[in-house]
């Protein structure tokens, strides 16, 4: 990982010095131990701030979209020939690259607007899992030593295997290396345990409808509709979200549980063929709603119905942009059976 980090800094310096990019979005060490936070780098000198480690959790595609859109909006009043492209360099792991592919499939910006610095990913640490392991104790000091975390808390020093606190989505990640990149930092990372990818969904499907509804209701009852999931999601980039539209008002604002259920249901349903399982929504959720149980189902359906994964291939339309005459249609109702 140090090698990747070194190469990343060199590459970033070069790109900035040669003015091939205007800004590089990457990760820097966070202010708390065992954290990393997004950073925006515009000069070669700052490039040494960049880090790449198991705490780099954010899906930076969100910022790429934000930066390019902000640049575009700021130049609205200029003549087309006077407008300048803002090239965004981005440190890209598997899920980030898939989100970038989705943006490109959806014609949000052009490939030329980004320079993709690919990094191999072996998963990120789930802070909520770690906090549970430490019983909520504050981390005073912490470092990563090979495959173990060395942590100092008020009650003493502890060693925890990184594997035990990796995020759920990382443990079964299928695409942990970038699907597109302009420069790859280091060798591709080994695959994770993909066999168990849909284990949670398969289990849930076996429950009765009543049991599933009870679980959905219970999870959605936790939601306070802060919309943090939406803000963090790289696929949620609409200028006006359906949740805030008033003509028509898609989602009611009452305290009735169905309003929250409908909001969550529709936000999740917008992720058909668009959710890359980066875990952003889950990590920002202040109430710990089990969104992944439902989002992963959409991914599974995409694979079983359309043989596609979100953002997997750049030269291929997204699942819901595409259609085939011979798509499966077992769900179509036919009175008296048969077609």
């Amino acid at each position: 990982m140090e090698k990747v980090e070194k190469k990343l800094r060199e590459e970033a310096k070069k790109l900035l010095a040669e003015k091939k990019v205007d800004v590089i979005v990457g990760y820097e060490a966070g202010t708390l131990p065992l954290t990393a936070t997004p950073v925006f780098i515009t000069t070669p000198e700052e490039a040494d701030k960049l880090v790449w480690n198991s705490f780099c959790q954010h899906n930076l595609a969100k910022y790429v979209h934000d930066l390019i859109m902000a640049n575009r909006d700021s130049q609205k009043r200029l003549k087309p020939e006077d407008r300048k492209r803002k090239v965004v360099g981005v440190v890209t792991k598997g899920c980030t690259s898939r989100s970038l592919v989705i943006h490109l499939q959806e014609r949000q910006y052009e490939r030329l607007d980004t320079v993709i610095l690919g990094v191999p990913c072996t998963g990120y640490m789930d802070r909520k899992k770690l906090a549970a392991k430490l019983g909520g104790e504050d981390i005073l000091e912490g470092s990563l030593d090979g495959a173990n975390l060395k942590i100092k808390t008020a009650s003493g020093e502890k060693t925890i295997a990184l594997k035990e606190v990796l995020a759920e989505n990382c443990l079964t990640c299928r695409i942990n290396n970038p699907v597109i990149s302009d420069a790859m930092m280091g060798e591709p990372a080994p695959a994770m345990d993909t066999a168990a990818e849909y284990a949670g969904v398969d289990e849930f499907e076996k429950l009765t409808p009543e049991e599933r509804w009870a679980y959905f209701k219970k999870e959605m009852a936790k939601c306070i509709r802060c919309a943090a999931c939406r803000q963090a999601c790289p696929s949620c980039y609409c200028k006006v979200c359906f949740a805030e539209q008033s003509m028509p008002q898609w989602v009611g604002i009452s305290e009735d549980p169905s309003d929250t259920q409908v909001f969550q249901f529709m936000r999740m349903f917008h992720m058909v063929g668009r959710c890359v399982d980066c875990g952003s929504c889950i990590s920002v959720c202040p109430m710990g709603v089990d969104l992944r149980k439902f989002l992963k189902k959409l991914d599974k359906d995409c694979v079983t119905l359309f043989s596609q994964r979100a953002g997997e291939k750049i030269d291929f339309p997204a699942p819901l942009q595409d259609q085939r005459m011979d798509d499966k249609e077992e769900f179509i109702y036919s009175p008296g059976g048969g077609h």
């Binding site: 009452s254 169905s258 309003d259 819901l320």
Partner: protein, 159 residues
């Protein structure tokens, strides 16, 4: 939250299923017309909403209908390959395949949302679809999941 858990019991006496049918202008609506012209009888439980094409249907329409108290939603358009706009119903098919699967996954009963194709010449099939869907929804009883209950109305009804 308790009002959401109310068993169908009392309410289902004299209850008639309310079904919202969202249909395309070119095939199913014409099919419904044909059923009418041919004087084919079908249950009066269905409220038809006509749209240009099933591809025009926002999945939200279906969810909103369920939230607003529809006991069942039916979506029907042209048979695949016969879309007036060539591929509108094929796009719709992908959308609805995932929507139905996702609705079932969160625990809605299978018969609440129904998708089918009825062409302009299938007046008989239209009547059969409405009959079949009405029977299915009737067997399920009044919808309780995702339904928004207006408290004031509930309180007034209780008095």
């Amino acid at each position: 939250m308790s009002h959401h858990d109310k068993p169908a019991g009392k309410k289902s006496e004299g209850w008639e299923p309310k079904i919202v049918a969202i249909v395309c202008n070119w095939c199913t609506y014409a099919g419904a017309d044909l059923a009418g012209i041919s004087r084919i009888q079908y249950p009066p439980n269905v409220r038809i909403i006509r749209l240009p094409c099933t591809g025009r249907i926002n999945p939200f329409y279906i969810v909103k209908a369920l939230q607003a108290g529809a006991d069942g939603v039916l979506v029907s358009g042209c048979h695949p390959g016969e879309c007036h706009y060539l591929t509108g119903n094929l796009s719709a098919r992908r959308k609805f395949a995932t929507l139905k699967s996702f609705l079932n996954y969160i625990g809605l009963e299978d018969g609440r949302a129904t998708f089918t194709w009825v062409s302009a010449s299938e007046g008989e099939r239209f009547a059969q679809v409405i009959k079949g869907v009405t029977e299915r929804v009737r067997a399920l009883g009044p919808a309780t999941k995702l339904v928004k209950k207006l408290r004031d109305v509930d309180v007034a009804a209780a008095k």
